[in-house]
């Protein structure tokens, strides 16, 4: 009774909901809604041809990337029109848009790879595509996140889908193991990240990045232990996602066990999202505290470079090689992060875009050229004779990862090393280049196997003259989806390697900003 009276006394006023700048959310909505729709459609019409899902996913991903274009115009055409929406929880700037496009495209390309793979391995289709889109939308949320809670939300959407994706290969024990391992370790890292958010909230009184930055600018913390502990824990969580040493130990096993098209996405989309968060949180928000976090990034970078390169060399499984090489590439990107300058950020953005294409391409070749579980170096022998296209494409991707000029990989390295030098981190630059040479040896081993060895000859066996007629080996059929994906990656890697100007300009305009919402709901 009294409750009713109380209720009656309350004025029927609506709750203040934040204004929503809907167009900003379109790329995210396209991907997320597309995924949900596909799930619905797939459960109703169970007899659709499996390629339809692949094509649909590729188109949804492409559509999501295309919707970025008008938004990009809006951000870059008018001076500094970056803004935030949803009560400052979502940042709308060139940085988030650029990385959104990269993530959406990596969903698209991975989906194209998945079609032929699923058919060959005789697996069911739609779930993988749905999860891929879900994971991608998580990545987009991360790149848009302007609030630590939103960031965590994105991280979880991204990761939970990725855990399942890793275990997608039903009949392979290694795939199940990969999924479980990724899940257990990933859950830990998420917990670390969440605890880091809590501590940061305790130290600054907000989870909103703008508020945090303003608070730190206005107040001098007498005791910043809480904040520093928050940094450290958040960094653990994000370093895990990007597979930086010493939080990389999951990567080789998961890469080896998970289906190749999924690995292509994990090495591109997941990494992009992780670096988006690292840059926005550390380079941007905690700019003032850079002397505290830069040394940590420095150490992570050095360890990732060295461990990634040296352990890649001793592997015999190509997938594990590429897993360690992706650890080493994370190190390179951290070199750019460590610079903590506009140039460094632009260089990392370029690196992420370039690396996404070359890594999707190389896992694409891998998924076509060898059956799951048989990706030893030996299985690549004589690939040049069995499929010149695949071998040539793989060669370009590997040389690009090694940083040979006329590929995007070179310009990416060039950018991050330049940023490191501008920030006077000479030793870091030298370690990075040294690691690049070590890693190059590993890439060359694969190239030697593909081009200079015949399929029937053993590693140690005295080789026959290369001009002896080779054993009749069936040429490898390349599924059309995979051919398109590999072709796109190849063209991007070579064309923008020779002429990096356009992407470099875009990366330079993709500046992350922290802008408070104009219509001020926060008071």
């Amino acid at each position: 009774m009294s409750a009713l009276i109380l209720l009656a006394q309350i004025e029927p006023s609506s709750i203040d909901t934040p204004a929503i700048d809907w167009p900003v959310l379109v790329p995210l909505l396209v991907l997320a809604v597309g995924g949900i729709l596909m799930l619905t459609v797939a459960s109703i019409f169970s007899r659709l041809p499996s390629s339809a899902y692949s094509i649909a996913t590729a188109m949804i991903g492409a559509a999501s990337a295309i919707t970025v274009i008008p938004l990009w115009m809006r951000v870059t055409n008018i001076d500094d029109s970056a803004s935030s929406t949803l009560a400052g929880a979502v940042a709308f700037d060139g940085f988030s848009l650029f990385l959104t496009a990269v993530i959406a495209l990596s969903v698209s390309l991975s989906a194209l790879l998945a079609d032929g793979y699923l058919k060959r391995e005789d697996l069911d289709g739609p779930e993988l595509y749905v999860l891929l889109m879900m994971s991608g939308s998580g990545g987009i949320i991360m790149s848009f996140a302007n609030d630590l809670i939103v960031l965590f939300l994105g991280l979880e959407v991204l990761s939970i889908a990725a855990y399942v994706l890793a275990a997608m290969h039903l009949r392979r024990f290694q795939s199940q193991e990969a999924g479980l391992k990724y899940f257990v370790l990933g859950a830990f890292s998420s917990a670390f990240f969440l605890y880091g958010i809590a501590l940061t909230y305790g130290a600054t009184g907000s989870t909103n990045l703008i508020d945090i930055k303003n608070f730190l600018a206005d107040n001098l913390l007498r005791d910043d232990g809480l904040l520093l502990a928050g940094f450290a824990l958040m960094l653990v969580g994000l370093a895990f996602k990007v597979a930086a040493v010493p939080f990389h130990s999951w990567a080789p096993d998961v890469y080896e066990g998970a289906p190749s098209p999924v690995v292509a996405f994990m090495a591109s989309g997941v990494k992009v999202a992780g670096f988006a968060a690292i840059i926005r949180v550390f380079v941007l928000t905690f700019d003032q505290y850079r002397t505290d976090w830069q040394p940590i990034i420095y150490v992570l970078a050095v360890l990732s470079l060295l461990v990634g390169s040296f352990l890649a060399v001793v592997q015999t499984n190509v997938k594990r090689m590429l897993a360690y090489s992706s650890v080493s590439h994370a190190g390179f990107m951290l070199v750019g992060v460590q610079a903590a300058t506009a140039r460094g950020t632009a260089a990392v953005v370029f690196y992420l875009a370039a690396y996404s294409f070359m890594v999707i391409g190389s896992f694409g070749v891998l998924s076509v050229a060898s059956n799951e579980g048989e990706q030893s170096l030996d299985s690549f022998r004589g690939l040049a004779k069995r499929s010149p296209f695949l071998a040539f494409a793989m060669m370009v991707f590997l040389l690009s990862q090694a940083g040979v000029p006329a590929t995007t990989g070179f310009f990416a390295k060039f950018g991050v090393i330049g940023a490191a030098i501008e920030a006077r981190s000479f030793w870091l630059a030298m370690v990075a280049m040294g690691a690049a040479v070590v890693a190059a040896y590993m890439y060359l081993r694969i190239i030697v196997a593909m081009f200079f060895s015949d399929a029937d000859e053993g590693e140690s066996a005295d080789e026959a003259e290369a001009d002896t007629p080779d054993v009749a080996l069936a040429s490898i059929p390349v599924p059309p989806g995979a051919a398109i994906a590999i072709g796109v990656c190849l063209v991007v890697t070579v064309v923008f390697g020779v002429w990096p100007g356009p992407i470099d300009d875009l990366a330079r305009e993709a500046i992350p900003r922290l802008v408070a919402e104009s219509s001020d709901f926060l008071g």
Binding site: L399, A402, G418, L444
Partner: protein, 543 residues
Amino acid sequence: MVLREGFAVMNTLTLAAADASFPVLTSLIVVPIIGAIIIALSPSTRAEVPKLIATIVSVIAGGMSLWVLADFDIADAGYQLNESVTWVEGMGISWSLGIDGISLFLVVLTGFIFPLAILAVDPHHDAKPYYAWLLALEAGVMGVFLTKDLFFFFVFFEIVLVPMYFLIGKWGHENRKYAATKFFIYTMFGSALMLVGILATVFITASTTGNDVTFDLVTLAEGQALATTTARWIFLSFALAFAVKVPVFPLHTWLPDAHTEAPTAGSVILAGVMLKLGTYGFLRFGLYLFPEAAVYFAPLMITLGVIGIIYGAIAATMQKDLKRLVAYSSVAHLGFIVMGTFALNTEGIEGGLLQMVNHGISTGALFLLVGMIYERRHTRIISELGGLQKSAPIMAGIFTVVMLSSIGLPGLNGFPGEFLTLIGAFNAHRWWAVVAASGVIIAALYLLWAYQRVFHGPAEGENAEMADMNVGEILTMVPLLALIVFMGIYPKPVLERMEPAVEALVDHIEASVPGFSEPVGEIRTADDAESHSGDEHETEDGE
């Protein structure tokens, strides 16, 4: 014929170009690339078609390099035929090309060696990728010699590794995989630190001068905005890359393997032009960009050069494999170039430049001959050969001339360059020149001894029945022999084109380094020194 065809193609290109002048330097790089792409995409599986395309394209490039030679203005010491297009604006990178007396003859040499290597030797298998890689290699080498932008210099310097890696790894001899990988990793390690050096030069210059970031060589070199110690460190990072490429002792160990395992054309190009990327780099990016550091490290570099001369010669003497012997002789010859370059006077640098061209001709010819012997006898082991003179008198005759030129016999092309470097070194560091001169004697020892063991003595078994050179092979050797004699007797046309640029470089060093003056002899002036460099060699008109 082919030349006329080439010019016709170029004329149409000229019409298409908006500029009044035809971008000949760009074409020198782009034409081989286009050729490589055409070959790679050509459907034919027959070996003749790629070879024909490769020949035409490389002859066009060679013709264009001669055109550049004809257009070259002798009196101008600076860059000529400049072309420049902005490439990556945000980084201050531009596609800017130019040529001067230092790069001119290296470009011509490249344009000359490639058609020869393509015509002289056929691959045993996979002709299509072979010729495509060769043309790609030509584009890369041309790029290194032509670019004025540090970014593109690095791009070309590094990109040449890929074609050469495949040439060695796919068409090489028994140990090719090892040699190819060693070559790639070794050279990449050298240039990895150079990338750090290039970026450090660019960014530190930008922050000290307050200007925009630029990779333009001339701006950076004329600005000289680096602090002394910084410049020395950066010089070391460049020097490491060049020293691996040259190779300077003790970084030479990749060379014998790569040379020995490479197919003949690969060895010819490796010795003919690719080793010069390093010595050219020293001149252009060591001396010009970091004059103070070059002066500071000159004693070290000269010492390493002289060690290279003696070590290379002694090692060559010990070789059982004929190709390896020639490879080690390259180490010795390039020692002379390094020594001459770091004598830091006109004679030394000019001698080094001349030696770069001459070494390309004579060692290229030697590798061709060794390749011909290998094709016939399927061995390069000296002890398994012998008495070839009886079965192959023409080959023996040509080998003699080429060998004598490599030894440095006056009247042949090896002499003027080597002699000038020795004069230069004598004026700068007298006793080192004396030690280096003994390298000339050892060169005579190992080459004559090798000749004696291969061509003289009783011929047994297959050696007695070895076929002599055929007409085609003789024809490929004729231009080389003509150059060997011409450059030995009358090097003036070459020297007078090099001289203004070399003198400008020495002046640049003198102007940039306080307290440094060109080391000339106590009695002789630079002019006198030259007129001593050989009776056949007339430079009285001097400057």
